[in-house]
Symmetry: C2
Subunit: 282 residues, 2 copies
């Protein structure tokens, strides 16, 4: 990565990667463009203006989502767009009382959807015996995630902001009832979308140095990876300070999230609940 | 979606959505930009020029991938970049003999990676008892998928092309050995990346009309959704004809993929194999 910086565009690239990693050895891109600028500048937004989405914006965002790859073109995902205030309020409660789910212009719930294929098989008198396997469970989850991430890129290109809401998995049965989800459909995550409130400052969250994440030829976990972790721990402490958050560093924060079932907001029961809903995991 | 088309940019938008859906009632975007153009134009590439990636491109792509959201900032994913021809050949074989895995400039294997947190907990004498739950399995899969999709957008903005390789799940143990994956790491999917061969024409693959995928307030499956399915079936037949593929339509093709364990290329054993590798699914 010792390429000379050639022009203003690549200077922008170097600034964007430095903002993401806060490391002197951050990658210095030799090519740069507006789409990369948008991707690198991503941050989650949790404070929204009361403004609605312009007409047609949701459909444009969904067209972008549908343009993502889908395993074998199965298209085993769907999305529910919720704008009704009462329904947003109820979903906010199911997500543990998240105010931004109430305040967003539209709350999108991204679904793994094997129902469509199940119904088509039934209508055609065909077997669909692969649906209850873990493989198809994963396919639905991956399809929904690829679509959702394209939606994030699209909505940010339109000046909107968003935040993923994993807490849709806290109470999957209640979410399914609220959204009238049929057999073989479940909420993978939610996403609050709206115009970010410019009065609430947000920062680019620092990430692990590439040494920890990008492996060459084979996986490795040694000194370079531990350096990336320890550097992030310090940089994340700086970030928390800037954002007026408790300064606990990255390691302590993430380990507290995975310490055990009591830290999982009910999601230690996810398998049991999905199975009770008829979601196959065999 | 009866907004007037205002200018050349939105005309481009209407053309892009029509190419994606091939329906007269395709969304007619009222806002449009180069990033949306890029997202809508996505197609998978399976024929690559022998050219390598320019220096720094991989690091730029990974910086974009790391800029995607990650659940609670856990960053439970990694990626292995394979350029060694022998290793690409072996991975191509494990994927059922896919030539584009051999031919691509770099083969990326996207990993769910709970190993990092497991090691940090061990080093700090902390519990990480949440790791073996289905919730964390899903978190790793979603984190890897969000990162990978940002990578696709980034690499396409640089003029590169790619195709996801779900067949990394055909033989997860062998893939893990080839890439020296430690405990609690598995390949979610691969991705062949390179400069597309312009001599091999690819088309924008048609998708289900939005009525099937975008639900308002609650999920529905009725006439509008069935119309979307049947229209796609016909449009997909046209697409197959254009691409000199067998004209079987969408419904028949997808149902043949999910008919049962015999159509799953070994992935009906995924759960059993992941568990034997020590991946928690409780």
């Amino acid at each position: 990565m010792n390429q000379p910086i050639k022009d203003a565009k690549t200077l922008e690239g170097a600034a964007a990667t430095f903002a993401r990693y806060r490391r002197d050895d951050s990658p210095k891109p030799t090519q740069w463009n507006d789409t990369l600028e948008l991707l690198l500048a991503h941050r989650s937004h949790r404070a929204f203006l009361p403004q609605k989405l312009p007409e047609g914006a949701l459909e444009t965002i969904v067209a972008a989502a549908q343009s993502a790859s889908t395993s074998s073109n199965l298209q085993v995902w769907s999305v529910v767009a919720v704008t009704d205030q009462e329904r947003k309020n109820r979903l906010a409660e199911l997500a543990g009382g998240q105010q931004h789910v109430r305040d967003c212009a539209v709350f999108l719930v991204w679904l793994s959807d094997l129902h469509r294929l199940e119904q088509l098989a039934k209508a055609g008198g065909r077997e669909a015996a692969a649906l209850p396997y873990l493989e198809l469970f994963m396919t639905g989850v991956v399809d929904a995630a690829l679509a959702a991430q394209n939606a994030v890129v699209a909505l940010e290109s339109l000046g909107l902001g968003s935040v993923y809401i994993g807490a849709m998995r806290n109470k999957p049965e209640e979410v399914a009832k609220e959204l009238a989800l049929p057999h073989n459909v479940f909420a993978v995550f939610g996403m609050a979308v709206g115009y970010p409130d410019p009065a609430v400052e947000t920062g680019v969250k620092p990430r692990l140095g590439q040494a920890a994440v990008l492996h060459h030829e084979q996986y490795s976990f040694g000194e370079a990876q531990l350096d990336a972790v320890n550097t992030l721990d310090a940089k994340f402490r700086d970030f928390q300070k800037e954002q007026n958050l408790p300064e606990q560093g990255w390691i302590r924060q993430v380990l507290s999230r995975v310490r055990g079932p009591d830290a999982m907001s009910g999601r230690h029961r996810l398998k049991e609940i999905l199975e009770s809903m008829g979601i196959g995991l065999k």
